[in-house]
Amino acid sequence: MAIRTHHLTFPLSAESARTLRAGDMVVMSGQIVVTAGLPTHHRLLGCLDDAEPMPMDLNGASVFHLGSYSEEKSGEFEILYLNPTTSTRFNAVMPRLIKGFNWHAVGGKGGLDRPCVEALQEVGGVYLSFLGGGATLHTKAIRRVIEVGWSDMLIHYRLVRLEVENLGPVTVAIDAHGVSLYEMIKASQPV
């Protein structure tokens, strides 16, 4: 079966997310938010509990486990490189964040577990797999840095909202209908 490649505008809506099927590919344009920090995710959980104000509006955002090097020059941030990090280490915190902030697109590399798959299904969200070791390609798709949140944190832990054009293609590895390529692979392995 031929691969379906979708050119979509981000942040992804629940409606668009539900048109995607696991195994499809997506080329992304629009606004995304990136961070590679587990401490950042814990801080966001704190925001859901009103521990501190949100550093930026993340409701309905498309938030990816992408590490980036951001540099401030004369008040403007520039991204020097961008690349995915392993998502599985965020498994424990993702269901609550996905549901709490209505994230219709998350991603990184390596996948997420069953509770995350169910959270994505509940809100109408997908998990997108980026190419690890694709820093040069991913970085070329950046058009500008829109805002940086929690710039007091380590560089790659910061929340960075980017405008991108033709980022990808990335693979829909978990769709909004509860289908995970990661689970399918394990289920079909020889015993």
Partner: protein, 289 residues
């Protein structure tokens, strides 16, 4: 004549810098071969994008991956090599100078395992191992940076008088646990025997062997072939989203030990970052890769 600390400082820093900006020729050839054999269309697409990323990094001389890992050096010291100045300090100084000057800058990945503080320096960083090699008048330095992406999934266990099926079942068990996470297609290194520490070293150094170069002993080479076929039947595929190409190679090495047999399994991601140079007593520096 002697190998000076200044040369060691310059070469080790350069090896790390270069290792971040291109993928070794054998990795590229292995990906091209995997693309030819792969039956999953999405997987083929991912493999082709990997090759494109590799080309783009070489052309632009930028980092292939944002995670520069930590610098790891495997150094073989010829018994006839002579030194002028300190060796260990030269490597530490070379890393510090590189951190201060490299463009684009490195993210602060060096982590204190007790406090989780991150920066660009730390106890015993860079990680260096030295071995003596008889009848050589040079030192051979391999740089193989290591990051969480593939580094997190290494494992070892110790068995008592295991048979080969037991050892191979354990390797596959570790591969299944690593699953989609270590940026496949990976190079799998397996170290069998020796002692607890030595098996891990064997596994690490096995990943540095050129992809596809079989072990010299037919029994081990046959094990490598069986394991590679079995790993590629797991179906994880490129970036773990499905396909036939989960590993480009399984390299096994072993050492005699006692009845207890450690089996160590480690992974390098599809890039398999690796640079290497030889430094001679007369001042020559031979860049091997």
């Amino acid at each position: 004549m002697a190998i000076t600390s200044e040369t060691i400082k310059r070469v080790t820093a350069d090896l790390y810098d270069r290792s971040l900006r291109f993928i070794p020729k054998d990795s590229k050839a292995a990906l091209t071969k995997a693309d030819r054999l792969e039956t999953n269309e999405t997987a083929r697409h991912t493999l082709q994008t990997m090759l494109k990323s590799a080309d783009e990094a070489e052309t632009s001389w930028r980092f292939v991956c944002s995670d520069s890992g930590v610098p790891v050096y495997v150094i073989k010291v010829g018994t006839q090599a002579r030194f002028e100045g300190n060796v260990r300090k030269a490597i530490v100084d070379g890393f510090a100078e590189l951190v201060a000057s490299i463009q684009p800058p490195l993210l602060p990945h060096v982590t204190n395992p007790l406090t989780l503080e991150r920066g660009h320096s730390g106890r015993q960083m860079p990680i260096v191992t030295f071995d003596m090699v008889d009848d050589c008048d040079f030192i051979d330095i391999t740089c193989s940076p290591k990051a969480l992406g593939s580094g997190r999934w290494s494992a070892m266990d110790i068995f008592s008088f295991p048979d080969l099926p037991t050892i191979e079942a354990y390797v596959l068990d570790v591969v299944r646990k690593a699953g989609s996470q270590p940026c496949p297609p990976v190079v799998v290194g397996v170290g069998i025997g020796g002692t607890f520490d030595y098996a891990c070293k064997l596994a690490k150094e096995a990943t540095l062997r050129p992809i596809g170069q079989s072990h010299a002993e037919p029994m081990v080479a046959a094990m490598e072939q069986r394991l590679l076929a079995a790993v590629n039947k797991t179906g994880f595929g490129p970036m773990g989203t499905g396909g036939d190409s989960t590993a480009t190679a399984v390299h096994v090495d072993y050492a005699a030990g006692h009845g207890f047999t450690p089996v160590a399994v480690t992974f390098n991601c599809w890039i398999n970052r690796r640079t290497r140079a030889r430094l001679f007593n007369d001042g020559r520096v031979e860049t091997i890769e």
